[in-house]
């Protein structure tokens, strides 16, 4: 070689703190310490894994991620390495495959996943895993999202050679109130065990038996009853751990998943809602390393039954007389009636109770409504609980931060409204998305004393029963919008199903009402969608400057510094 390149690739990479790795013949650069599996997956070379999970410690036991690896030949003492014209050393391939999950990349390393060694290793491992597998996919809940199924289809041999008796293990075992176990389907990746130990810190799961009789089970006298237990169902790559709630309800390939956020607490856990037609079947966590990692609490996960419950209000309800029952009506008639009735109320005798469960867009419209009516007694219902030290925030409202920003309300004025209702100084009450008989502490008797009670809600409650007019709103699964979580991150809600019955999104109800009440401000009445309202808000509120529906993205965006942190995320960051 006449001229050496000024700088070899290895030096260039080292300057960036990276290393050069050849994957299936192509050179890439990765930060030092990247796991081979992550490196391969990041450049589109799929490495199948059962036991490896980026959030858990490495077990390296499934042997599915075996790849062929090579390094430059070891030099004799005193020899200098030689480089080819591209500036790389030749790779000497190892005769033994290595696991991609436990090993990290190194300078001038070569990885091959398309060679004979790797292909045969994968095929062998899959064949072994299937020997004692019951092959009951037709009745298995995991079918369709089963790693064993997918990998067998991608890398398996297609035929089986095992003709002996299978090892018999426990089936349909109850591990806890929400999780079922089928030990025969288990591939013993031990993700569930590691999750309970490392993330939850409750070591209730373990392996018993030796050799082929290995089985995951609970320790004697314990059960898997943690509020995070259902995450093991998501973690399980096969159908060994199944959710008692979702068991035998629906084949997963019929389900549509919609990325959205959870509304049970201020954390704003990122979730996927799995729906078919107009029915919600399950909720699973969606990875967001800044909010909920890969997990969610069971209590939040299972709180979706109200969406399709018979208690949903599907048409506007109107009480024509104080003593008359509520009767279904149409939107036009109802809204006109409401406008007529509201015009009769003196603004000083009207109070509005909004909800921090509403999206920013709804809060914005609620503010417009209040301004149009000239109402000043206006607040939200605070909701406090206990912080569980994991993901559940003590703020049980999903959008308190938004309410603070948009309405500048924190619930401090609620006592005055409650008192006003009690002593009769408030004659009319507008309740937006709350059951005021509960957290707001206004008893149903007091509500009955009011002249006028307008309620916007998605489900029946003591408040809607006392209402003169009920405007049917929608649940979080049926609407678009944004919320700001306790840590100041604005996140998007996506519509998973269409509004049930004649229910309408709250923002559009309030927009129309405001318009009918005589508002002519184009910034309110011209908004055709929550996305447009967001753009209006971006003009008005400093923290939201420059925001649009598109640039919030699926992971959300931090717009406020609230100083609040999520304990589980802090722990995860500290581990790194």
């Amino acid at each position: 070689m006449s001229k050496k390149p000024a700088l070899l690739p290895k030096d260039e990479a080292a300057a960036e703190g990276k290393v050069n790795v050849q994957i299936n013949g192509k050179w890439y650069r990765f930060p030092k310490g990247t796991r081979i599996a992550d490196a391969c997956n990041s450049v589109g070379v799929h490495v199948p894994c059962f036991c490896y999970h980026p959030k858990l410690s490495v077990a390296g036991s499934c042997r599915m991620c075996l790849v062929e690896q090579g390094m430059p030949p070891r030099l004799a003492p005193g020899a200098t390495p030689t480089y080819n014209e591209d500036g790389y050393q030749t790779i000497q391939w190892m005769p033994r495959a290595i696991i991609a999950c436990a090993n990290t990349v190194a300078e001038n390393m070569g990885i091959r996943t398309d060679g004979k060694l790797c292909t045969e290793a994968r095929r062998g491992v899959l064949e072994f895993l299937l020997t004692n597998h019951p092959l009951d996919c037709p009745i298995c809940d995991q079918a369709g999202e089963c790693k064993l199924q997918e990998y067998t289809s991608d890398y398996g041999s297609g035929t089986h050679r095992f003709t002996e008796s299978k090892t018999k293990k426990g089936k349909n075992l109850s591990l806890g109130p929400r999780v079922n176990m089928d030990q025969e389907r288990c591939v013993l990746c031990r993700r569930c065990i590691r999750f309970m130990k490392e993330i939850v810190g409750e070591e209730v799961l373990g392996v018993v038996g030796r050799g082929t009789h290995n089985a995951v089970t609970c320790y004697p006298g314990t059960q898997l009853d943690s509020n995070y237990s259902m995450n093991v169902v998501d973690l399980c790559p096969v159908g060994a751990l199944t959710s008692k709630d979702f068991r035998f309800k629906m084949r997963v390939w019929f389900l549509k998943s919609t990325p959205t956020i959870d509304v049970n607490c201020g954390t704003g856990t990122n979730i996927n809602i799995w729906t078919r037609e107009q029915q919600v079947y399950r909720i699973t966590p969606r990875q967001n390393d800044e909010v909920n990692s890969c997990w969610m609490p069971d209590s939040h996960r299972l709180n979706y039954k109200y969406i399709n419950a018979p208690e949903r209000i599907l048409t506007p309800l109107v009480k024509t007389d104080a003593k008359a029952p509520q009767r279904p009506s149409t939107w036009d008639a109802t809204l006109n009636l409401v406008v007529e009735q509201l015009h009769k109320c003196a603004p000083v005798e009207v109070a509005i109770i909004a909800s921090a469960r509403m999206t920013n867009e709804e809060l914005y419209m609620a503010r417009a409504l209040a301004r149009q009516l000239g109402v000043t007694k206006f607040d939200i219902v605070p909701r406090k609980g206990e912080n569980d030290g994991m993901l559940i925030s003590e703020d049980r409202n999903p959008n308190s931060t938004g309410a603070k920003l948009i309405l500048n309300k924190t619930g401090a004025g609620l006592t005055n409204i409650r008192r006003g209702v009690k002593n009769g100084s408030i004659r009319s009450l507008i309740v937006l998305g709350e059951d005021v008989t509960e957290e707001a502490g206004i008893p149903a008797e007091d509500l009955a004393e009011l002249d006028y009670l307008l309620v916007m809600a998605h489900s029946e409650s003591a408040t809607t029963k006392a209402a003169d007019v009920v405007l049917p709103g929608v649940t979080f699964a049926e609407k678009y919008g944004t919320m700001i979580n306790v840590a100041g991150r604005i996140q998007r809600l996506n519509k998973a199903i269409e509004p049930l019955g004649e229910a309408r999104s709250e923002w559009s109800i309030m927009r129309e009402l405001t318009e009918l009440l005589g508002c002519d401000c184009p910034r309110v009445i011209a908004c055709p969608s929550p996305m447009m309202i967001l753009e209006e808000m971006a003009l008005e509120f400093e923290p939201m400057k420059g925001l649009s529906w598109g640039n919030i993205g699926n992971e959300g965006k931090v717009i406020l510094d609230t100083g609040v942190t999520i304990p589980l995320i802090e722990r995860e960051k500290a581990k790194k």
Binding site: V58, A59, G60, S61, C62, R63, M64, L66, P95, R96, A97, I99, A102, N103, E120, A121, G124, V125, E127, F128, L129, T131, N132, R161, F162, T163, E164, S165, K166, T167, V187, L188, G206, V207, G209, R210, G211, T212, H213, N214
Partner: protein, 469 residues
């Protein structure tokens, strides 16, 4: 040593050199510390404690001593793998989980000469500056554990253990830990997990190399019982003198345990490489039993690949020319047999004569490995019972010729793909037996068996698959 007399029938063969086994089955010798000190015990320790720890490691490195647990890794080199600038405590673990079928050397040391091991351990601990050591003893040595505990107590009472050993300022505590009867606990990381109270699942390497991240995450040296006794021997003789004796790449003596079809099975301590397998079996062990012929040898514990006695091996003369030889011409050291595709391992030689059925022998080994697989990684957990089921079926005359190939294939799929060396240990026998004694396997099979159901489930399923015309 003319003054040593052995119990009747236990006298060493003239070609033996008893060093580690010097006191085994010796007339008038008991495992007490009195007896050991009278015989010159703990003198080497005194010498070592006056040296620098690094000098001890150098001496062991110089000796070329290789581990006697089976893998034959140089002991001194292993000791230097403790990370430089380490601030964590260092632990030494004595692997006394001798469970390889066919190996029975450590049990004699533990039962009859425990202080030799203790002295070796103190020396090793001093070299690596460990102040806490564990003897991991297999469950099957209840008497050995009692003797060892007594010996540890005696050594402590005499000031060889505890604080400020022999006024050198060196502290050491040795504890005895009993296993619960699992073969996998002999794997060093499995053993460490077992001591920690976890399931003895071997750990993945990298990153869990014991010398860097071992017991409780601290650097840990795991040595075999015989290796530690050899350490004492090295320090007694001096590294160079030790290295001068025996095979160049595996100096010192080796303890060979011969079991199976020979006239005099038992232990033999020989200078490494000084005799061949033929000399061992015919001279030391007295040859085959009357009227029989040697058929096969497993040269290094159950997991080593079996060697046919009539197999023609290519040996190399000193001048470089190739000559034909048999297993009987292979010298007994660590490396010679490895050139012929097997391994000398832990020195357990299992001999089979012409009355033995090789498929049954393999089936027996497979039963052992299927039971002892820890179940952590997929190939070993699922492959071993499969191999067992196949070999059982072949032995019962229900196999087809294809099953023999399948058996070999299953073994190939395990080998090299597991977390620990158990994958090799369990697949090598099957690979070797089915290749080298294929005719014997095929003789037990019938082609028609390929069409028959092999399990009650398959028989049941067949009912629904048969067409009724």
């Amino acid at each position: 040593m003319s003054d040593i007399t052995y119990k009747p029938g236990k006298e060493p063969h003239p070609r033996e050199t008893r060093r580690i086994f010097r006191n085994i089955d010796r007339e008038g010798y008991d495992p007490s510390i009195k007896c050991y000190i009278k015989d010159g015990g703990y003198k080497t320790l005194k010498k070592v404690l006056a040296m620098e720890p690094a000098a001890v490691i150098d001496e062991v490195k110089k000796s070329g001593l290789r581990g006697r647990g089976g893998a034959g890794f140089p002991t001194g080199v292993k000791w230097t793998f403790i990370p430089k600038g380490n601030t964590k405590p260092v632990y030494l673990v004595c692997n006394c989980d001798e469970s390889e079928p066919g190996t029975f050397k450590d049990r004699f040391i533990v039962h009859q000469d425990p202080h030799q091991l203790i002295e070796g351990m103190i020396i090793a601990c001093y070299a690596v500056q460990a102040h806490y050591a564990v003897i991991y003893m297999r469950e099957e040595f209840p008497e050995g554990a009692r003797i060892m505990q007594t010996a540890l107590d005696e050594a402590k009472a005499k000031g060889y253990l505890g604080e400020n050993i022999m006024k050198s300022g060196f502290d050491l505590k040795i504890v005895l830990h009993r296993g619960a009867g699992a073969y996998i606990c002999g794997e060093e990381t499995g053993l460490i997990n077992s001591i920690e109270g976890a399931r003895p699942y071997p750990r993945i390497k990298p990153p869990f190399f014991p010398a860097a991240i071992g017991l409780y995450g601290c650097p840990t040296i795991v040595n075999n019982v015989e290796s530690l006794c050899q350490v004492r021997q090295v320090m007694m003789m001096g590294g160079e003198a030790y290295a001068a004796e025996g095979a160049q790449r595996s100096p010192g003596t080796r303890i060979i345990g011969v079991s199976g079809d020979v006239k005099r099975p038992g232990y033999y301590e020989i200078i490494s490489g000084s005799i061949t397998y033929g000399e061992l079996l015919y001279d030391l062990c007295g040859g085959p039993r009357v009227g029989r012929k040697f058929k096969a040898i497993i040269p290094g514990g159950a997991s080593a690949k079996v060697m046919r006695c009539d197999e023609v091996l290519k040996g190399r003369n000193p001048d470089g020319s190739v000559r034909n030889m048999t297993i009987f011409d292979v010298p007994l050291d660590l490396d010679s047999i490895a050139q012929h595709g097997s391994m000398s391992g832990s020195g357990g030689v299992i001999v089979m004569d012409d009355t033995r059925s090789m498929p049954k022998m393999l089936n027996n080994l497979n039963r052992f490995f299927a039971w002892e697989s820890c179940g952590q990684c997929s190939p070993c957990r699922e492959g071993n019972p499969w191999m067992l089921k196949l070999s059982t079926r072949i032995c019962n005359g229900q196999g087809s010729p294809e099953d023999v190939d399948l058996l070999k294939d299953v073994a190939d799929n395990i080998c090299g793909r597991t977390v620990c060396a158990f994958g090799e240990a369990c697949s090598w026998p099957t690979q070797a037996f089915t290749t080298k004694f294929r005719d014997e396997f095929l003789a037990l099979t019938k082609p028609i068996n390929a069409l028959k159901p092999h399990s009650p489930e398959a028989a049941e399923a067949r009912k629904f698959l048969t067409r009724e015309d």
